[in-house]
Amino acid sequence: MIDPAWVSGLSALMFVIGLGGAFTRKNAIIVLMCIELMLNAANMQFAAAAVHHGDTTGWVYTLFAIAIAASEVAIGLAIFLAVYGQHETISLDDVNVLKN
């Protein structure tokens, strides 16, 4: 079996990629994907930890986290649609009526 530490490492990498992508990319949908990446990193960590501790709760956490991620995507896309309707763009840089 793979050492959970490797999984943790991978998840850390995913998290960093996700976080980095979130503030480097302009397109809202890509940012959303990055966020998903972060959530998945957490999921992996949960899974790895569950294995590490031999504790089933971790799996449950993972399931819940997936559900959360899913609803997040749903809400996100809905909002993006509405934004597009009004601003005709979903570039994070360009949607900046509100500032200061």
Binding site: I35, A42, Q45, Y61, E72, Q86
Partner: protein, 574 residues
């Protein structure tokens, strides 16, 4: 914990214990069902027989009344609120909901109850006052009242409010970090949509998107933190985490894990530097929603922080907690100063209130820092645990009364908003002439926010400062009486946070007063000289806020005691 009644999910006493939440749930169902009742019929397949099953079709007059969802939501939330009050009056029971596998999921005690009070109270007021003020079309669009009312989206709005309340109460009850997180997400998702509810306006959707996307990143970081903690401790039970932290909390993994979690909650309380989306969100959302964000949502975030703090502030782990205190203290200082400075130059009253709520978050973080420092020096610790309780009391008290004046201020703005926008200070111009009582109410909210006596805001700030100073001074008074010699520098550094906090509240007077000056001094904007839009509900809600603000300020003793009881009921490890 041992003295708590242990109840299994859906076991005996479950209904009693979770009565407010069940009321919410029932209300939620009603909200979904009732507005959809109509003359809809169901044709039994294969026959021409149409059974009236009441869903869909042309709605009844009653069920099509746009105010119906609002009333339902108000009664639901208000009912839950009153139920909590009733429970308080009957005396509290400490109930622990434990899963079959022995994991403690929820704990009902004074702490959770008082937070339920905050959540339900704030949301009930918001729902009540949104009743005739909710705009679903773009601001200023020429749409008749009738048309406005006759809109099914009303129901969505109130459903989201109730789910938000539900999520928040889960946060208050949770005894497992992950359960807490789920509650948090439930409430957050609701607020994301609520913020973006004005999808017909540019600012509405924009604020929703920003709030959502930044919030998601923060909660992503938070979730990752959770996973790290889980990796470290093998459980996310508070009790387990706390014990583990006391044992080996100084390693990097748990510390960084908690740090990540802090980011997640930090966003909710809008602590710097995670607060950036907050002003945008407040400015774009309708005022009652913004009010909810500034009060209930913030209280929810605070619960998370308090829980984290209780984990790390266990007595033996002074090293780890010291790191944390510095971290929190710096964050508190930056947050309050940043918020105040930003508010100073803000011309948009909603943004101003948003920044002011950032500042208030700073004050609360300072209080939290003090809680963490409760046993900083055994020599002068004396009644340290009582002192810690006192600070916690102050924190809770602050969150409670914040609902009254912060939400109240947003409600006043909501009246102006429904008239034609409240995005610049001048929209408040001449309010004293147009509706004096409203101006007086706003004035009371403003000076209460600034912390001027005799308003509730003063008492809460006083309590926070008293708590901080008490921690900083510790038992020196008694030591001095016994011949000890102490100097200013002997006090814990949180004393300086108190000083900074007071200086900040002095700065804050500047922008709060500017609102007052505009209301009482300036002339109304052109075209806004006439009377304000009518609507008794929002005014009743404002009146309730004013009364609370003043009465608590003048005679806050019983509320202080209530908060003290709540603070004591926390699951301390000392």
């Amino acid at each position: 914990m041992s003295n708590a009644t242990i109840v299994e999910p859906f076991g005996d006493g479950f209904v009693n214990a979770l009565c407010p939440e069940l009321i919410l749930f029932a209300g939620l169902l009603l909200l979904i069902l009732l507005p959809n009742l109509g003359r809809g019929t169901f044709r039994i397949p294969g026959t021409q027989l149409r059974l009236p099953w009441l869903l869909g079709g042309k709605r009844f007059k009653l069920s099509s009344d746009p105010r119906l969802p609002a009333w339902i939501a108000t009664f639901t939330l208000g009912g839950a609120f009153l139920d909590v009050l009733y429970i308080f009056s009957q005396g509290l029971e400490r109930v622990s909901i434990v899963s079959e596998s022995g994991k403690e999921l929820l704990l009902i005690n004074g702490f959770s109850r008082i937070f339920e009070l905050i959540f339900f109270g704030a949301l009930a007021l918001a729902a009540f006052s949104s009743m005739n003020r909710l705009q679903v079309n773009g601001i200023g669009s020429k749409i008749s009242e009738r048309e406005l009312y006759n809109n099914r989206r009303q129901a969505d709005f109130y459903i989201l409010m109730v789910t938000c309340a539900l999520g928040m109460s889960v946060v208050a009850l949770a005894q497992d970090l992950f359960v807490l997180f789920i509650g948090l997400e439930l409430a957050s998702f609701s607020t994301y949509v609520l913020v973006a509810f004005l999808k017909e306006s540019k600012v509405g959707v924009e604020s929703g998107m920003k709030y959502f996307i930044v919030g998601s990143v923060a909660s992503g970081v938070g979730l990752y933190g959770l996973s790290m903690l889980y990796l470290w401790a093998g459980s996310l039970q508070f009790s387990v985490l706390s014990a583990a932290f006391a044992e080996s909390g100084t390693t990097a993994l748990p510390l960084i894990g908690i740090g990540f979690v802090l980011v997640g909650f930090g966003f909710k309380v809008s602590a710097a530097p995670f607060h950036f989306a907050a002003p945008d969100a407040y400015a774009g959302a309708t005022s009652p929603v913004a009010g909810v964000l500034a009060t209930a949502s913030k209280a929810m975030g605070m619960i998370g922080l308090i829980r984290m703090l209780l984990i790390i502030a266990a007595p033996e782990s002074s090293d780890g907690s010291a790191v944390w205190l510095v971290c929190l203290g710096v964050m508190a200082a930056i947050t309050m100063t940043w918020g105040n400075l930003a508010a100073l130059g803000s011309d948009n009253p909603k943004r101003m209130l948003a920044y002011s709520s950032v500042a208030h978050a700073g004050y609360m973080l300072a209080a939290l820092t003090a809680v963490g420092a409760w046993n900083w020096d055994a020599a002068v610790a004396g009644d340290a645990s009582a002192a810690a309780v006192a600070v916690m009391t102050a924190l809770i008290f602050h969150l409670v009364v914040l609902v009254a004046f912060k939400l109240g201020a947003f409600l006043v703005l909501s009246i102006l908003e429904s008239e034609g926008g409240a995005s610049s200070l001048s929209s408040l111009g001449g309010l004293a002439k147009r509706e004096p009582l409203l101006a007086v109410a706003m004035f009371i909210f403003m000076i209460s926010l600034a912390g001027v006596p005799p308003m509730a805001g003063f008492l809460s700030k006083l309590l926070v400062i008293m708590g901080i100073v008490r921690i900083a001074v510790g038992d020196m008074g008694a030591e001095i009486a016994d011949g000890g010699i102490y100097v200013l520098g002997d006090m814990h550094w949180v004393w300086w946070l108190a000083l900074l906090m007071l200086i900040n509240s002095a700065i804050s007077v500047f922008y709060y007063l500017r609102v007052v000056v505009v209301m009482f001094f300036d002339e109304p904007e052109e075209g806004r000289e006439g009377p304000l839009p009518r609507g008794w509900q929002v005014r009743v809600a404002i009146l309730a806020c004013v009364l609370t603000t003043v009465l608590v300020g003048v005679a806050g003793d019983s509320l202080i005691r209530l908060c003290e009881m709540a603070a004591q009921s926390l699951n301390y490890n000392w």
